[in-house]
Amino acid sequence: MNALPYLLEGLKVTIYIFVIAIILGFIIGLIMALLRLSPIRALNWIAKIFIDAIRGTPILVQLFFFYFGLNSLEFISFDRTTAGIITVAINAGAYFAEIIRAGIQSMDKGQTEAARSLGLTSAQNMRYIILPQAFRRMLPTFTNQAIISLKDTSLLSVIGIADLTQQGQIAIAATFKAFEIWLVVGIMYFLLIYLLSLLSNFLERRFELR
């Protein structure tokens, strides 16, 4: 039998989960970073607790918590894919939050002072002056996190999501060709990650550092 259709099916699921999770994760990270830097103490704490909780626990435990833990409550029911996406997104979000916070804090204070002295509000300063510069500088670190998150998606196979890793196992059960199939699965992950770094390089050139 031919294992390739199985693997391609799994690849699609992996890409689908990764793309949604990384976008959500970025939004979560941006919001958490801004809360973390906000002058309002309560918001600060919310973000800090979130970030510390996620960074301080294994992603597999988080996955089990979101899937088995939350689903054991009567009023919540997540399907596998939703639980998987949430886990990867929240995990990426916590790391993005710290990357973005550090990026914003590393900006020269003179930029903010110039913007505020012109009458820009602090939100306008963030949007037009600080974030565009900080994001450009953070691109390599963002790429790193995206690669880690992509690898994290392979853990989702343990709750039965039909991602590339899970489909590899299924294909092996049918063909008994463990060596060839894990090799091909590995190459597929590698190519995905290679594509990600190409994209990152392209963006870095597109938004050249001034």
Binding site: E113, A115, S117, L118, G119, L120, Q124, R136, R210
Partner: protein, 242 residues
């Protein structure tokens, strides 16, 4: 008419009192230079005038508006008070033109075409029209500072604050920047200039404030203050810098 009225201004960082009871009135169209030793509080004083520093006590009134009042709309007030920094602080990810039109467009809703037209006139005035599409990283220090002045002027401010605008420049660049400032003074801009350029203070300013240990130790018209300083500390300071 009084443009800037500072009443009993005090500023502390923790227990350290940088400004101790400063009161001064600056008239419309007046050009005031602020001199003093490093660490005496000149920058702090200037930054209190647009509330980049929150003051500890006292009042700062600009064009009749108490900018330190709780209900004061500080963003609105800052639109009227231009500031030029020692380190230029241009936005490096934006072109010269974008640096200048950003604030008028975002804070006043000026249309892009109008903001651009105004910006080009200002660039012409500071002699950098051909640099409109350059990025700050492609300019010399003197050019950067002239763009920074144009950027502040684009908001049509009533007051311009300068914090050592030429201190970060190579000597041969200083003249161009001072020239632009001189022209601005002649056009009747109200200016407060922290500077080590005693020549500029002498030639252009209407009054010189000597700040020492957080107070205005002496103030006078430049001719008097430079040739006939009364305070011992002023004499000591001037003998070092002149």
């Amino acid at each position: 008419m009084t443009m800037i009225d500072v009443k009993n201004l005090k500023k502390s960082y923790g227990k350290f009192e940088v400004l101790k009871d400063i009161s001064v009135e600056i008239k419309e169209k007046e050009v005031v230079c602020v001199i003093g030793a490093s660490g005496s509080g000149k920058s702090t004083f200037l930054r209190c005038l647009n509330r980049l520093e929150e003051i500890t006590a006292g009042q700062v009134i600009i064009d009749g508006q108490d900018i330190t009042a709780k209900e004061a709309n500080i963003n609105k007030i800052r639109q009227e008070v231009g500031m030029v920094f020692q380190q230029f602080n241009l936005f490096p990810h934006k072109t010269v033109l974008e640096n200048i039109i950003l604030a008028p467009m975002k804070t006043r809703g000026t249309a892009k075409a109008e903001a651009t037209k105004n910006a080009m006139e200002l660039l012409e005035k500071v002699g950098l029209k051909e640099k409109a599409d350059s990025y700050p990283g492609e300019l010399s220090g003197g050019q950067k500072q002239r763009v920074a002045i144009a950027r502040a002027l684009a908001m049509n401010p009533k007051v311009m604050l300068f914090d050592e605008p030429t201190s970060a420049l190579d000597p041969e660049m200083v003249g161009d920047v001072l020239e632009v400032m001189k022209q601005l003074a002649q056009e009747g801009m109200t200016m407060v200039v922290v500077t080590h350029e005693m020549g500029f203070a002498r030639e252009v300013s209407d009054r010189v404030l000597f700040i020492d240990e957080g107070v205005i130790a002496e103030q006078n018209v430049p001719g008097e203050l430079f040739s006939n300083p009364r305070n011992k500390r002023t004499q000591a300071f001037l003998s070092k810098v002149l």
